[in-house]
């Protein structure tokens, strides 16, 4: 089994407050995994560690068998830019930029020239049912539109792993399902691995399997059963 992501014995504290106390998790390539758990359990922190945003105090994070917790801040930034995509609950779009510029942002940061980057970004607008919205600012988009723009931005660089933290948290159930539907079908088409943090069972039901984070540790279920 090829592991796209692997966390082993990950520990992380915020000051005196432990958030993760030895979390282990393996995610196969192309797998969609829901990370569930009560609030404060450390599920978002686990995602931040897996994505190289936070560096664990102990333990290892491996992406394609390569350790990333020992990489420099800059290298991890480049990793996020080139191989990861992110969809968060809100506040992830840069309000000063247009929707198209937001989508093109990872490409621009990666050194793609402005024209082709925007061209590539525009293609996503049709694909996600956002026709004619590329000139809008994030404040002029509805919640569902903003999440779809965020989704386009997350996928524009063709990432290996998509990290989604409560992607429907700020949306009503119908809009939320539309976003999830898009997210899952796009990820499946491309074989993108998805780490989906959610506390909602109906969102988690879009995943191949779920893991529970409780008190900073991960409870997994039999993967064979999960595959069934």
């Amino acid at each position: 089994m090829s592991a796209a992501l692997r966390a082993s014995g990950v520990e992380l504290s915020f000051g005196a407050t432990p958030a993760l106390r030895g979390a282990d998790l393996t995610i196969a390539t192309g797998e969609i995994v829901a990370v569930m758990g009560p609030s404060g359990s450390g599920k978002s922190t686990l995602l931040h560690c897996l994505a190289g945003i936070l560096v664990p105090d102990a333990g290892q994070i491996l992406v394609d068998g390569q350790r990333i917790d020992t990489l420099s801040e800059t290298r991890r930034s480049e990793l996020r830019r080139d191989r990861f995509g992110f969809v968060f609950q809100f506040g992830q779009l840069v309000p000063e930029l247009t929707a198209a510029e937001n989508v093109a942002l990872p490409l621009l940061l990666g050194g793609v020239r402005r024209k082709p980057a925007l061209q590539q970004a525009r293609e996503w607008f049709d694909r996600l049912g956002l026709e004619g919205l590329h000139g809008r600012r994030s404040g002029e988009l509805s919640g569902g539109q903003a999440q779809r723009v965020a989704l386009a931005r997350a996928l524009v660089g063709g990432p290996q792993v998509l990290f989604a933290d409560e992607p429907t948290g700020a949306l009503d159930s119908i809009t939320g399902e539309q976003v999830m539907e898009l997210l899952v079908s796009l990820a499946r088409d491309r074989g993108t691995t998805v780490v989906l943090v959610t506390h909602e069972a109906r969102v988690a039901a879009y995943a191949d399997r779920e893991v529970i984070v409780r008190d900073g540790r991960v409870t997994s279920f039999d993967t064979q059963e999960a595959a069934a």
Partner: protein, 739 residues
């Protein structure tokens, strides 16, 4: 990347544009100010260099080619309607006389050359008031090379060698001094460069500090939103370096625009600046120029400085992709923050009784001391704020007081930041007012009497090593001049006791004394009095009595037989009477110093002093205005950033009136506490400086100071109060929303 940064900086909606505009404007004013100061320094130096040749009597400083035939040269100061005239009597001894700057040759006997400003005066003034002082006819006008200022009045009067040789301080010279007076030990015509540089430095510092604080306050506007944006960029993979570049571009935009604007402002205001008689005389416009290094330094230095400070600021906040995550209570300021303030005051105290000998030494000693105190006020501010807020929290009975006290004590630096500009303005204002008020009280015309202005005198007494005046030379036409009320003679006191502070070189009959109103009176029963030759008691003398001094009785000597050492002409004070009698007196007694009123002589120093006072007023008001702006900006900005906690407080049942109290107290407590410290530090510094440098005591400031300070504080409080309507809107229940 750069284009992205530009887009982001200007595309942030009205708030971001307003922020950029505020910063840009502040930078523009600051840059314009510094450019004006730099150009001003250049102008003072160039102006000074043009004074050089007037010091040619001091031949040891003379350079340049030597002429074959020496010229006689006698310099003296003359006056016209309160303005100084530099009068040089020259006499050539042969065809190869030295040639001064601005002229093709020295004027021969019966000829004279004048500066353009004097030429204009000659044209518009009746001859008996001015042109009759110069024998012969005008043959030339001095060129630009000879002039330090377009307003400078110079007369080069050609005479025979015999005439000039008899004049006081007459010398022979073969070449002219071409160096600036600052490089020439005994050269006295010119400006004290160090003093001017010091004043410029203080003025610029006093205005630049509040401006820097203002820029700092404006930079913090919408900081939360900027942090969120940068965090969003980090999330999608912007490296720390890229984020730093973005932030740098952002701050460089405002700085660059502001710098360019500042240059424009300077160029626009240059003609106006040239007219400011900073050294007492206007500048030539082409003297008020930026040197290339200075211009380039500002043009590139300011944006680069802004970029560097943006980098430094980012380094302090490690920009995580998740934003600045947890607010930690900053460590409370410690009492060590008082140390710089104490150190500065200690430095000034140390110099009391240890005044450095050189001007440079004094500059270094006092300026650095006052600057350290100034920095000390800023450093001590948060501690003072915290102490004040703790006191408030302990004493408060109402919820507003308790909440405001706790919030302030939690982050006193933020509370102090908004009012720091005001504290500095008050400090500078207090120092300047303290020094100037006391200086004016000691030296100014507090004992002003009519004779200071009205009495035209010519004196020549043995105390100056000069020959007495010839009584027969007193022109009889003097009494016929319209406006002349009396002409009296002052005679030599043969029994002057140099060890007696109450013994004076002149004698006058009591009958004459009473003819001149304001000249004082005799001791009871005396027939004659000992007087100072121009009838005005000198500074610090033992003659008291203000506008009506009582002179000591004269020794028993026959008054008529004593030599004449002074002629005093009492006029009605009209310019025509004064200048006509001056012209008559000078022509009658050409060997001695020009005729002058005490006012003419005093004007030199008091005019400068009054200008300094006006300058100080401008500085104080300008820095108060700047400080007020930063206060307003920081309060509105602060309210915007804190609207959530305030809205939550309101939802939790705090009444709007109590909330108003919280906001008011949060600004007013640091304002009043720090102002008190700043004002106190200012006056103590002024007192120490006065005591050390001049040996004066500090005098209480006048009503103007209280008016300006009080108005400043009231306007500040009004500014705070003016944000109150905003409070209701900002802290509505909608603000509790999490977005």
């Amino acid at each position: 990347m750069i284009r992205l940064g530009l887009r982001m900086a200007v595309a942030g909606g009205r708030a971001a544009v307003a922020r950029l505009a505020i910063i840009g404007a502040a930078v523009a004013i600051g840059v314009g100010l510094v450019l004006a100061a730099l150009a001003g320094t250049t102008a003072v130096q160039r102006q000074n260099a043009h004074y050089g040749w007037l010091n040619s009597a001091h031949a040891e400083a003379a350079t340049g080619p030597s002429a074959a035939d020496p010229a006689w040269w006698a310099f003296r100061e003359d006056y016209f309607r309160g303005r100084s005239i530099a009068r040089i009597d020259v006499a050539v001894t042969g065809p190869h006389a030295p040639v001064p700057p601005g002229l093709s040759a020295l004027p021969g006997p019966g000829e004279y050359a004048v500066s353009p400003a004097l030429a204009e005066l000659l044209r518009t003034t009746p001859p008996d008031q001015l042109s009759e002082r110069f024998p012969g006819r005008r043959t030339a006008v001095l060129g630009r090379d000879a002039l330090a200022s377009p307003d400078l009045l110079i007369a080069v009067v050609g005479r025979t060698p015999a005439d000039v040789a008899g004049l006081r301080d007459a010398t022979q010279l073969t070449r002219f001094v071409s160096v600036s007076p600052e490089h020439c030990l005994r050269c006295y015509v010119g400006t004290g460069i160090n003093g001017m540089a010091l004043i410029l430095a203080v003025v610029v510092a006093a205005l630049l500090f509040p401006l820097l604080i203002f820029i700092g306050v404006a930079t913090r506007l919408s900081a939360a939103r900027r942090e969120q944006r940068l965090a969003a960029m980090r999330l999608v993979g912007a490296t720390p370096r890229q984020v730093a570049t973005l932030a740098t571009i952002e701050s460089m935009i405002a700085a660059t625009a502001g710098t360019l604007l500042g240059f424009g402002l300077f160029l626009l205001l240059r003609p106006v600046l040239a007219h400011v008689p900073f050294t007492g005389l206007r500048f030539f416009l082409d003297d008020l120029e930026l040197t290339w290094p200075a211009a380039l330094l500002m043009l590139f230095g300011v944006p680069i400085g802004a970029a560097l400070s943006a980098r430094l600021a980012l380094r302090r906040v490690r920009m995580s992709p998740l934003g600045v995550m947890r607010r930690v209570t900053p460590k409370p300021p410690r009492a060590w923050r008082l140390l710089p303030l104490i150190a500065g005051l200690a430095e000034l105290t140390w110099f009391v009784g240890r005044k450095p000998y050189t001007t440079n030494g004094q500059t270094a000693a006092y300026l650095s001391g006052i600057l350290v105190v100034m920095i000390g006020v800023v450093v001590a501010g948060p501690w003072v704020t915290m102490t004040g807020s703790r006191l408030l929290a302990r004493l408060a009975r109402r919820p507003a007081g308790v909440i405001a006290g706790r919030r302030l004590a939690d982050d006193p630096r933020a509370g102090f930041r908004s009012i720091s500009g005001l504290a500095l303005a008050l400090f500078v204002g207090s120092v300047a007012t303290g020094v100037i008020t006391s200086y004016v009280a000691e030296r100014g015309d507090s004992a002003a009497t009519p004779i200071i202005h009205n009495l035209m005198t010519v004196t020549s007494w043995s105390g100056h090593g000069q020959q007495p005046l010839d009584q027969a030379s007193v022109p009889p036409s003097l009494t016929a001049v319209p406006g002349v009320r009396a002409v009296v003679l002052i005679r030599d006191n043969p029994q002057i006791d140099k060890n007696d502070p109450n013994s004076w070189p002149g004698l006058i009959s009591c009958a004459d004394l009473t003819r001149i109103p304001g000249s004082g009176h005799c001791s009871p029963g005396a027939a004659a009095a000992q007087v100072f030759p121009n009838l005005v008691p000198p500074y610090g003398g033992s003659v008291r009595g203000g506008s009506d001094p009582q002179w000591p009785p004269a020794p028993e000597v026959p008054l008529d037989r004593q030599a004449v050492i002074g002629v005093a002409v009492d006029t009605d004070g009209s310019p025509a009477a004064l200048e006509t009698s001056r012209t008559l007196l000078e022509n009658a007694f050409p060997q001695v110093d020009g005729a002058a009123s005490e006012g003419d002589i005093r004007d030199d120093s008091t005019r400068l002093l009054r200008q300094m006072q006006r300058l100080a007023d401008i500085v104080i008001i300008a820095s108060l205005v700047i400080a007020g702006c930063s206060l307003a900006v920081s309060i509105t900005g602060g309210l915007n950033e804190r609207k959530r906690p305030f809205a939550v407080l309101r939802l939790a049942g705090l009444r709007l009136s109590d909330l108003r109290g919280v906001v008011l107290l949060e600004s007013a407590v640091p304002l009043l506490a720090v102002s008190a410290v700043a004002v106190a530090a200012g006056f103590v510094s002024a007192a120490l400086f006065l005591k050390s440098q001049l040996g004066y005591e500090l005098r209480p400031p006048g009503a103007g100071y209280y008016a300006v300070t009080g108005t400043g504080l009231l306007v500040s409080l009004a500014l705070i109060a003016s944000t109150m309507p905003l409070l209701r809107r900002l802290t509505g229940p909608a603000s509790v929303r999490n977005d």
